[in-house]
Symmetry: none
DNA sequence: GCTACTATCTATAAACC
DNA sequence: TGGTTTATAGATAGTAG
């Protein structure tokens, strides 16, 4: 997508790798956001740069966004209406409502002397609960994602440790080799049992 | 990027939303992979579709690569490497009818004679949607937790590898010590340079 | 839900601040 | 490290099968 076609393999030049990282990372975040908005899905993107930094994108509330948009759509159907319509409207907007709440509303609606205010109160209460619930869900998802990040960090650390250990083994083996070579040079061949020598080399 | 510029807002038409979802999701995964390869960073992408599926990309194959290399190096446990092989890629969960249910609800509520629906009907509809939503949320949480489990498994594996590596180093050191002792016993002292010998022992 | 085909739009590589 | 700019590669909307 640039002046030149680029092979997809690690960019060895550090500065251009960094430049590309910055550009493509931004591009990825943008794309993620677009996908989540256009298609109404949840997207989580975590980018762990080699330098400990974490870049992330998360659209953790588009599920509730579905509901919100849907409710808005329903509300748009009829704005001006009598109290019954008004109540129905409330119902459209209350996917999260407990059944009992709506049943209460239904009973009230069947009465001639409907108390608007009480239903309004109920709706208000419901909305409050809904808001709290949404926040709780958001935090829950957030915490789960945090866990994933933590695990990733641990993983990184362990990989590093593995590398160090492997290097250690390599170093030890090299030194053993050197040592063996030294011994072979310094020691009269007749002093070495060749079978034993072979066995010793098998360690490597 | 197409025949026409599109606004970044929810695509209301279902089928084109689905089409776009498919295309852009693939594009996002591709971009993620490219970023991770080009810039040598770890990228995790989680996409939760409204239909209950999780599409996942994780560049943690670098991990897989490390493990595989190590396994080849140790070429001892076929079992472990077999387990490592299927670590990656997206998981598909079938079933679920959240989308269908929402469609149904949408149709019903979009009908001009929506007023004819009884409140009981609406309550029923709401309950259905609520149930589906709950299931969806449960599934989403489940998938996140699965990701965490995955990480946890990888972590355990790495810890195991660390142990093996440490044991190896221990073994190598012991053998070196034995060997040195052997050499000291078998070789005439006059053949050894004591300074060199001390230096050699410092490796251990 | 794909795959294929364009026409177009978008991202970005390179170069320069 | 982060903005420009520009030429070009790549992604994708619309469409058809």
């Amino acid at each position: 997508m640039g002046r030149k076609k680029v092979e997809i393999k690690r960019i060895e030049d550090k500065s251009s790798r960094q430049a590309t990282f910055s550009k493509r990372r931004n591009g990825l975040m943008k794309k993620s956001k677009q996908l989540s908005v256009l298609c109404d899905v949840d997207v989580v993107v975590l980018v762990f740069s080699s330098r400990e930094r974490l870049f992330e994108f998360s659209s953790t509330n588009s599920l509730t966004g579905v509901i919100r948009r849907y409710n808005n759509h329903m509300k748009a159907e009829d704005k001006v209406s009598a109290e019954v319509d008004d109540t129905e409207e409330s119902k459209y907007a209350s996917f999260m409502t407990m059944e009992e709440l709506l049943q209460t509303a239904e009973k009230k609606l069947e009465e001639p002397d409907v108390d608007d205010l009480s239903i309004t109160d109920l709706v208000h209460l419901e909305n409050q609960v809904e808001t709290a619930l949404t926040q709780t869900r958001f935090r829950k998802t957030h915490l789960l994602i945090e866990s994933i990040k933590n695990f990733h960090d641990k993983e990184k650390q362990l990989i590093e440790e593995n590398k160090v250990l492997e290097d250690d083994i390599g170093t030890i083996k090299n030194r053993e080799e050197n040592e063996m070579a030294m011994n072979l040079n310094n020691i009269a061949p007749t002093h070495m049992d060749s079978g034993q020598q072979r066995e010793t080399l098998n360690f490597l």
